[in-house]
Every structure is written in structure tokens, then in C-alpha cells.
């Protein structure tokens, strides 16, 4: 049972802290910092399902987030839907798209798949930049009235914050649930040796397509929430290639294949990036530092920070997964 696992309660504790901290001080700046961390955790946890669990590198993960944002914003602004239904519809829509893509693209293996995901990202970016109902390359804006159902723009910011935290907790719980399920074991088998897994009766293509689609759902919901909060969207913000890659850096930093590790990497990297970007002297160099960091992690600590924790506190291996 998932309730017996310490990592489950750790996740809930994390979510509770995220909710309590800005609420206590009513601090909007802190809330904005934390929402970025939460989004990073959502993206990285779901990316982890592909890279860490299944061993397939998805360079275009951000496409789910951006597409979710577009669908959500379109439903709210042009169709007058309420936020929750728009966000859920965005998630379902993007997951179905991913399933279709996945069934085709996931017949490819290894590096070919990685390249195809780059192709999907660029193709979707180009499509959205030319798609009339979504405002082509100028994107879409939300009028102020769109925030009325949530009690005005001020309250809407807090409501979306709580929703994003909820999605964050769900992402981590989803990762935990998949990790110990039969389905999850099938994914690990594919990661270790796909041919052997197929021989043992795992339908690898279906497994991969399902996890690809699952890993699209929550990022799409988060995208819809975030772009609703920001009130605007355009193709270059929604489909930022760099952000997609930074997700991989965060995952490697924390420890791929582990739930808490992925969240830890996301939180650390996101805070580090915010710090570097706000330092006038260092802001130009944040890419250099991120690149250097990634290189060091890949060369010397390919299992990420979580491995150090395991080494120094051996007991933590049983508790933190």
C-alpha cells in the first residue's frame, strides 16, 4: 500500500510546507518563487517517468506543458470555460495526442527516439506559430474578466498557486505509485534490456506509448494553470527548447529513477537559476554554470545527488525512493 511508504508522507509534508509558507507571511514574492519550483518539480517528475523509469530520453518534454497551456487558455478565453474544466480538458487532450505520437515514434529506440522528440517539439512549435485560432506567433492574451469566476485577479493568483501545488503532489504520488506497480516493473525491464523484456512477454511498444501519454497529462494541466495565471501565451514562451533541456539537467542532478531525488534536483536547480539570473554579474553566465554542472554530474556522479545521501545515510535507501 502506498500509505505505508514514507516517501508518500514526505510528499504530502512537502506540499503542506509549500502551502503554509507563503500563507503565513502573505508573501506574494515567496509564492512566485515557490510556484516556479513547483512547476519544475512537476515537469521533472513526469520526465523521470520516461528517462528514469523507461530509459528513453525525451528532449521535447516541454511540448506537453506548452500545448496544455495553449488548449487551456483557448478554452478559457475563446470558449468561456472555467479554469478547472479547461485545465483537465487540456490534460486529456494532450495525453491523447501523446498517445498517438507515442505509438508511432516509440517504435524507434535510443538516440533515434531522442532525435524524433526534438522533431516533434520543433514541428509543434512551427504549427502553433501558424495556427490562426491560437493567435499565430503573437499568441493569446486573457482579458481581466477571465479571472472573475475565481473572485478577481488577486484571489485567482492564490487559487492557481494551490492548484499547482496539488498537481505537484499528484505528480510525485503518481511516480511513487507507478514505481512499485507491475506496470512500473515492466518499464524498468524495458530500461534494462528491451529485447529481454519483450521475450518475457512485455508489450514494449504499448507500455512505452502509455507511459509517454501518462507523462504528458500532469505537465499539460500545469501548463494550463500557469499560463492562465500569467494571462498570456506565445509560441516562444510555451515551447522553450532550453527549458526542456534544463529539465534533463535537473533530473540528472537529483538522481534519475528516484522520486524524491528528481524533486530535489528540480528544487535546487530552479533556486540556483533564479539566484544566478538575479545577480547582475552572473546573469550572463547562468548557462555556462548550468552546462559545467551538468558535465560534472555526467562525468563524476551519474546517479545524482541522491546517491550521496544513500552513501552517507545507508538507512535512507529504504525510506527515500
Amino acid at each position: 500500500m502506498i500509505f505505508k511508504r514514507p516517501s508518500f508522507w514526505l510528499t504530502l509534508l512537502l506540499a503542506a510546507v509549500f502551502i503554509y509558507l507563503p500563507l503565513r507571511s502573505n508573501d506574494a514574492a515567496l509564492r512566485e518563487d515557490l510556484i516556479l519550483v513547483a512547476v519544475a518539480i512537476i515537469l521533472v517528475s513526469n520526465l523521470n517517468l520516461m528517462i528514469g523509469y523507461t530509459g528513453y530520453v525525451n528532449f521535447g518534454h516541454i511540448v506537453f506543458y506548452g500545448l496544455g497551456g495553449y488548449v487551456g487558455l483557448y478554452l478559457v478565453s475563446a470558449r468561456g470555460w472555467h479554469l478547472p474544466s479547461a485545465a483537465l480538458t487540456a490534460g486529456v487532450f494532450v495525453s491523447i495526442c501523446a498517445l498517438f505520437f507515442g505509438l508511432g515514434v516509440l517504435r524507434l529506440r535510443g538516440a533515434y527516439f531522442a532525435l524524433a522528440t526534438v522533431g516533434i517539439l520543433v514541428a509543434v512549435h512551427a504549427f502553433v506559430s501558424n495556427f490562426d485560432p491560437w493567435g499565430r506567433s503573437t499568441g493569446m492574451y486573457l482579458p481581466f474578466e477571465a479571472y472573475e469566476p475565481l473572485g478577481g485577479a488577486m484571489r485567482a493568483l492564490w487559487v492557481t498557486y494551490y492548484l499547482v501545488i496539488a498537481v505537484m503532489a499528484l505528480s510525485m504520488i503518481l511516480s511513487l505509485a507507478i514505481k512499485r506497480s507491475k506496470f512500473g516493473l515492466g518499464l524498468f525491464a524495458i530500461r534494462e534490456d528491451e529485447d529481454a523484456a519483450v521475450v518475457l512477454g512485455i508489450n514494449a511498444t504499448v507500455y512505452k506509448a502509455i507511459i509517454y501519454s501518462v507523462s504528458a497529462f500532469l505537465p499539460a494541466v500545469a501548463g494550463a494553470l500557469m499560463f492562465y495565471k500569467n494571462g498570456m501565451i506565445d509560441p516562444s514562451i510555451a515551447f522553450e527548447y532550453m527549458l526542456s533541456i534544463e529539465g534533463i539537467v535537473m533530473l540528472m542532478l537529483g538522481g534519475q529513477g528516484t522520486v524524491i531525488g528528481a524533486a530535489m534536483g528540480a528544487g535546487l536547480y530552479e533556486r540556483l537559476r533564479s539566484y544566478l539570473l538575479t545577480q547582475p554579474r552572473l546573469s550572463n553566465f547562468h548557462l555556462v554554470i548550468a552546462g559545467g554542472l551538468l558535465l560534472v554530474v555526467v562525468l563524476f556522479a551519474s546517479r545524482g545527488l541522491i546517491e550521496w545521501l544513500y552513501k552517507f545515510v545507508p538507512r535512507s535507501r529504504e525510506v527515500i525512493e
Binding site: I51, G55, V57, G104, V105, R107, L108, G110, A111, Y112, A114, L115, A116, V118, G119, I120, V122, A123, H125, A126, F127, S129, N130, S137, Y241, I245, I248, M252, N284, F285, H286, L287, V288, I289, A290, G291, G292, L293, L294, L295, V298, L299, S302
Partner: protein
């Protein structure tokens, strides 16, 4: 015409892939470095930019060997994810430094050759010179690979690294040089592009993506096929431009890319054997 330059960029990617099974994600930043190398040297000497290609290729070779030692050597033989990530890390660092030095504003190499007009079509001198340079470099590479001892060694290592080592070939040196040549081709194609279009430090990314498309069309690890596929892509771009808006081109290119990947994972020039 532009196609030959795409082809050249893709040849570098294809060579590295073929020899060491590494998808070189530093490619884009190296193309951008080629552009800026050309710009800086052109500004310093104001000579003929096409004469500057040679030193740029030489720099590329050295830079490539450096990058090989820094990021690729240690992850060979480990999972593909590792080399993807380590080359990407170098890419990020180079782009970061480039952004800090030159910001992301556009530059251009101010140099024009007289064009030729045949019937209704006008070819600018720069396009012709760039295409010819690309073809010459491609031809030299082919001669190098098939007519010299070093080229033979590179092909041997590509075929079977263990067997090549047993024959007394130092595979590390060969890999380093092959990587250097791949990077030199990237810098060279960047330098050629810089004489055709304005560029920024980030433009390398676009050409890297085009190189992926070209390499996949040709089948990974086939340098000459890459050149042909590059020309094909250039022709395709030219052929569809009159009919649809330019902004749709990436969709067509990458749609084609994904479809070809799925239908012909070994490239349209590849053999059908598994």
C-alpha cells in the same frame, strides 16, 4: 545552393555518429562559433572570406579534439544518454559564453561577390562560392577517408573498434581526430553560412536541427549521403517557398523528419537490412 552547406554541416554530424555512435549535440554551438570565427577574422583581415576557411577548419580540428577530451572520451561505452548529455553540457557552456561576449544581436559578414544571371534566375556570387567551397571540402573529406592511411584507420574503427585495436590502431587517437574533423566541418559550414545570411550566437541551433533532418534523411553515419540529402533539403526549401509562407517550412521539414524516422529508420539511402 544552400543545400550543399546544409550537407556539409550534416556530414560532420554523420561522421561523428558513424565512427563513435555519439550524437554530437555541440554541433549547433560549433556552427555558431564558425560564424563568429569568420566574422572576427574577416573584420581583422578584410580579405576574401573564402580564403579564411582554411584557418577556420584548422581551428575546428583542434577545438574538436579538445571537446573530445573534455566531454566525449569519458562517456564512450556508457549509455547513449550520457554522451547526449555531456555534449549538450558543452553546448550550453559555449552558447552561454558566446551570449555573454556577443549578446544575441545579429551580425553579418559584409562581403558580396558578383552574381550570374541565367534566364530568369539570378545566383548571387556568395551562394555559388559557398556551394563550391562546400563541395570541395566534401570531396577532400571523401579523398581523405578513402585514400589515406588515417582515413582507412577511421573507417576501420567505425566498423569494429576492437578488431581495429588488435590491428595496432590506437583507437583513442583515431576517435579524437574523427571528432576533430566532424567539428571542423561544423565550423566550416558555419563560416560559409555567415557569408550568406545574418546570424546570431543562437542561429547554430537552427542549423543543428536541419543537420539532424539531413542526417536522418541520409541514414546516420553516411557522410556522402548526407551531402546529397542536404542538397535535397535545400531544393525542397526552394521549391515550396513560392507556394506557402516561409514560417510553415519548419513544420514541413520536421514533419518529414519524424515520418522518415518512423518509416525508414536507416535513412532513405540506407539498406533495408536489419
Amino acid at each position: 545552393m544552400v543545400g550543399a552547406v546544409y550537407g556539409l554541416a550534416a556530414m560532420g554530424l554523420s561522421l561523428i555518429w558513424g565512427v563513435m555512435d555519439v550524437i554530437n549535440l555541440t554541433h549547433g554551438s560549433m556552427i555558431a562559433l564558425g560564424m563568429f570565427g569568420m566574422y572576427l577574422m574577416f573584420m581583422a583581415t578584410t580579405g576574401n572570406p573564402y580564403a579564411l576557411l582554411l584557418p577556420i577548419l584548422a581551428i575546428g580540428l583542434l577545438l574538436g579534439i579538445l571537446v573530445y577530451w573534455l566531454s566525449v572520451h569519458w562517456v564512450l561505452g556508457r549509455s547513449q544518454l550520457m554522451s547526449l548529455l555531456s555534449t549538450f553540457a558543452v553546448n550550453m557552456a559555449v552558447i552561454g559564453i558566446g551570449t555573454a561576449l556577443w549578446s544575441t544581436s545579429p551580425y553579418n559578414v559584409n562581403f558580396t561577390l558578383k552574381g550570374i544571371t541565367i534566364g530568369d534566375y539570378t545566383f548571387t556570387g556568395n551562394h555559388i562560392a559557398a556551394a563550391c567551397s562546400a563541395l570541395i571540402i566534401a570531396l577532400l573529406l571523401e579523398l581523405f577517408l578513402y585514400r589515406t592511411r588515417m582515413g582507412k584507420a577511421i573507417r576501420a574503427v567505425a566498423d569494429n573498434r576492437e578488431a581495429a585495436e588488435l590491428m595496432g590502431i590506437s583507437s583513442t587517437a583515431v576517435l579524437a581526430i574523427a571528432f576533430g574533423i566532424g567539428i571542423a566541418l561544423a565550423l566550416g559550414s558555419g563560416a560559409l553560412v555567415s557569408t550568406l545570411f545574418p546570424f546570431t550566437i543562437l542561429s547554430g541551433g537552427i542549423y543543428q536541427l536541419k543537420s539532424f533532418v539531413v542526417t536522418v534523411l541520409a541514414g546516420l553515419g553516411k557522410p556522402l549521403g548526407a551531402l546529397a540529402a542536404g542538397v535535397l533539403l535545400g531544393l525542397l526549401e526552394g521549391a515550396v517557398t513560392p507556394f506557402i509562407a516561409v514560417s510553415w517550412i519548419p513544420l514541413i521539414e520536421f514533419g518529414l523528419f519524424v515520418v522518415v524516422l518512423i518509416l525508414f529508420p536507416r535513412g532513405i539511402f540506407g539498406k533495408a537490412t536489419a
